[in-house]
């Protein structure tokens, strides 16, 4: 191995890959077999954190940053004047194995620029995964990028070696895609996604009947959208997201604030700040859709095409629907409890358990961990004192904002903990 050359390639190809924010390594079920190397049946470990506070759990690189396309939002685009490099299959295998053996990583996340054509590229990605599994008996985590336009046969094969597959749709709207990546077609993204979905469905049903079915992409599929590159609204992003969750059983949709990398005047100019707060609000919305029983139309619609930046989307929804509050925490069903601002999923379940033994009062709720500074305006409980004043939504909002504890205030400051949430075990 030529160390200097590898080191240079690694710099270039890690740099090019880092804009993909996914670093999840959980949700797979692969155990160590035949005394081989590694496993990925656990929670997925963050072995380090970058200086921007993101989890480092996988070796995330491109196989090559040569690309025949010219997507305006991408550093790897053909017209960009940057250094290009390409790993050999064996080099990626060696890096992965040696990093893994030293406990640096949980596995590999391999993506690529498109060279020659989609299938040719996809074949190379598969070759790496296959070698890792078959020659190195590697059972760590492998995330492969599905190359838009790759054939069904290749996507079938990819899932036999990878734990997760993902295609990034990147641009939330078709018109945005036309503008920024005119050579690309939404259909090309959907095709491999569809195939992987069908394979997973088939795998699950066959597994019920047969003992030995080769395991297929056990950690499912995900995708990513770039936020703030094409003038899209929050509604457009989240409707797209809801559609993809539903149609392709995605495990996760990631939202990545656009990082200006080009002087192209179709895009925000270099020096524009990354929309980190907006990204955070989108993740919160995503959470509400997946774990809190909200429908996207309740949170975003014609009247409210964008999320409020100073309050979280659940509070924002509650303030628009004051007629549904206050609710009695000793009687309300789970669905309504989950809708109370300041009341998380954990607390809601605790309330349901605890109220079997006694009627809950403010003290109980506090111990359970409810953020009363927000919740108290929306609930009643077994206490004689509660907020009785009739307040307008605007009054409530300013009251809550001025009373919020530092943690809530920090949310709207620059120090976001946004990557805390997506690293939860639900990934």
């Amino acid at each position: 191995m030529n160390f200097d050359r590898i080191n240079e390639k690694l710099s270039i190809l890690a740099d090019a890959a880092k804009y993909d924010v996914s670093c999840s390594s959980s949700g797979s079920k692969r155990q160590n077999k035949n005394k081989g190397l590694g496993n990925s049946d656990g929670m997925g470990i963050c072995h380090s954190y970058t200086e921007d506070g993101r989890c480092v759990s996988l070796l995330k690189i491109l196989l090559t940053n040569h690309c025949i396309f010219d997507c305006a939002y991408c550093v790897t685009r053909k017209s960009n004047d940057i250094k290009r490099a390409a790993f050999k299959v064996q080099e990626v295998v060696d890096l992965t194995i040696n990093f893994y053996r030293r406990n640096y990583i949980e596995g590999l996340f391999l993506s690529s620029g498109i060279f020659k054509n989609a299938d040719y590229t996809m074949e190379r990605l598969i070759a790496v995964a296959k070698k890792l599994r078959e020659e190195e008996n590697f059972n760590g985590y492998i995330h492969l990028k599905s190359i838009p336009g790759a054939s069904d046969e290749l996507m079938r094969e990819a899932g036999l070696y990878a734990d997760r597959l993902s295609v990034n749709i990147e641009i939330p709207t078709e018109k945005g895609l036309k503008l920024l990546a005119p050579e690309k077609d939404r259909k090309d993204f959907i095709k491999p996604m569809e195939k992987v979905k069908n394979e997973i469905v088939q795998y699950k049903s066959e597994k019920k009947l047969l003992k030995k079915v080769p395991i297929y992409a056990p950690a499912g599929q995900s995708t990513q959208m770039i936020v703030g590159a094409s003038g899209e609204t929050d509604a457009e992003i989240m409707y797209t997201s809801a559609y993809f969750y539903k149609s392709f059983n995605l495990k996760r949709v990631y939202y990545s604030g656009y990082i200006p990398i080009s002087y192209d005047d179709r895009l925000p100019s270099i020096g524009t700040s990354v929309p980190v707060l907006r990204e955070n609000r989108l993740y919160q919305t995503d959470w509400l859709l997946r774990f809190y029983g909200f429908d996207v139309r309740e949170l975003l619609n014609k009247e409210h095409p964008n999320l409020e930046s100073d309050i979280d989307p659940k509070l924002s929804w509650a303030l628009r629907n004051l007629n549904q509050f206050p609710i009695d925490v000793n009687k309300a069903d789970l669905r309504m409890l989950l809708r109370v601002p300041g009341l998380g999923a954990k607390s809601a379940h605790k309330i349901i358990n605890a109220r079997k033994f006694r009627k809950l009062n403010w003290e109980n709720l506090k111990l359970i961990g409810v953020a009363l500074n927000r919740a108290k305006y929306f609930i009643t409980c077994e206490s004689r004192v509660f907020e009785t004043k009739d307040r307008t939504a605007a009054q409530l909002k300013s009251l809550i904002l001025s009373n919020s504890n530092s943690k809530f205030r920090k949310d709207i400051g620059p120090q976001l903990n946004l990557f805390d949430a997506p690293n939860l075990k639900t990934a």
Partner: protein
């Protein structure tokens, strides 16, 4: 009068102490390790001799009172080595034996709440070690790591590393407590070593470690730098996740 019960510092010793408390119906006691004992004129002292038979009887009897999971938590609390934790564990066990129902989830009891808090801290440290251990490949092809965890969590890490690194020999050595785990491709054993100070010294790396070891460390450091997005810098979040006291283990933070 209070009785000071002096034990050898092992978990077996602590359970033997519990046996003793019941055998002699000791009412007021305080449990200390031999090396922590300071004589005084007011208290009676008793030295407990570890006895695996007695310890086992206590441990087995506990199964009728609390879940296996709660038993494991007592062991984890013990590994915290926090001052006075022995007393809390003994109280917990007394509570368990005295009660008709499973006490382990009664968090309104301060002893039980306290134990569960300590266990959380120990678990967190265990997970940090799973994440922050950095192996270096020695000349004789053993993957070697040193750690100095806040609590004595190494026994808890054993399964994870054995399952994951089944095809390589490895040693994880706790330099603070002067013992380590060695996996020889078959089983994990506890070992003690004379560790040369120089081993953690950059210049000497090539004396102890394989030729490619230094290269892979550099590759990893380089990767770490390039996967960072500068325009998203968030130092406080970074430090929250990787507190500075752990940086000395981390290959990528050392340079």
């Amino acid at each position: 009068m209070k009785t000071i019960l002096i034990y050898d510092g092992s978990f077996e010793g602590l359970l033997s102490t519990v046996f003793y408390i019941y055998e002699y119906q000791i009412d007021q006691f305080s449990v200390v390790k031999t090396e922590e004992y300071v004589a005084n004129f007011f208290d009676k002292k008793e030295e407990i001799i570890s006895n695996s038979n007695k310890a086992n009887r206590v441990w087995k009897a506990l199964s009728t009172k609390i879940s296996a999971n709660a038993k494991r938590k007592l062991y984890k609390a013990f590994l915290s080595e926090l001052p006075g934790i022995e007393n809390k564990i003994c109280h917990f066990i007394q509570l368990a034996f005295a009660s008709k129902y499973k006490i382990e989830k009664d968090f309104s009891n301060p002893t039980i709440l306290e134990i569960s808090k300590v266990v959380k801290m120990v678990d967190r440290e265990k997970h940090r070690m799973d994440a922050f251990v950095r192996f270096r490949q020695t000349k004789d092809n053993i993957y070697f790591a040193t750690i100095e965890p806040d609590f004595n969590v190494l026994p808890l890490n054993s399964d994870h590393f054995r399952e994951r690194y089944a095809d390589q020999k490895w040693i994880i050595y706790d330099v603070k407590r002067k013992y380590g785990l060695f996996y020889n491709l078959n089983t994990v054993t506890t070992i003690t070593l004379e560790i040369d100070e120089a081993i953690n010294n950059k210049q000497n790396e090539l004396t102890f470690f394989s030729d490619t070891e230094v290269e892979f460390q550099q590759l990893w450091g380089n990767y770490f730098e390039h996967t960072n997005i500068k325009s998203r810098k968030n130092t406080s979040l970074h430090i929250k996740h990787v507190p500075k006291r752990y940086w000395k283990y981390l290959t990528e933070k050392k340079n």
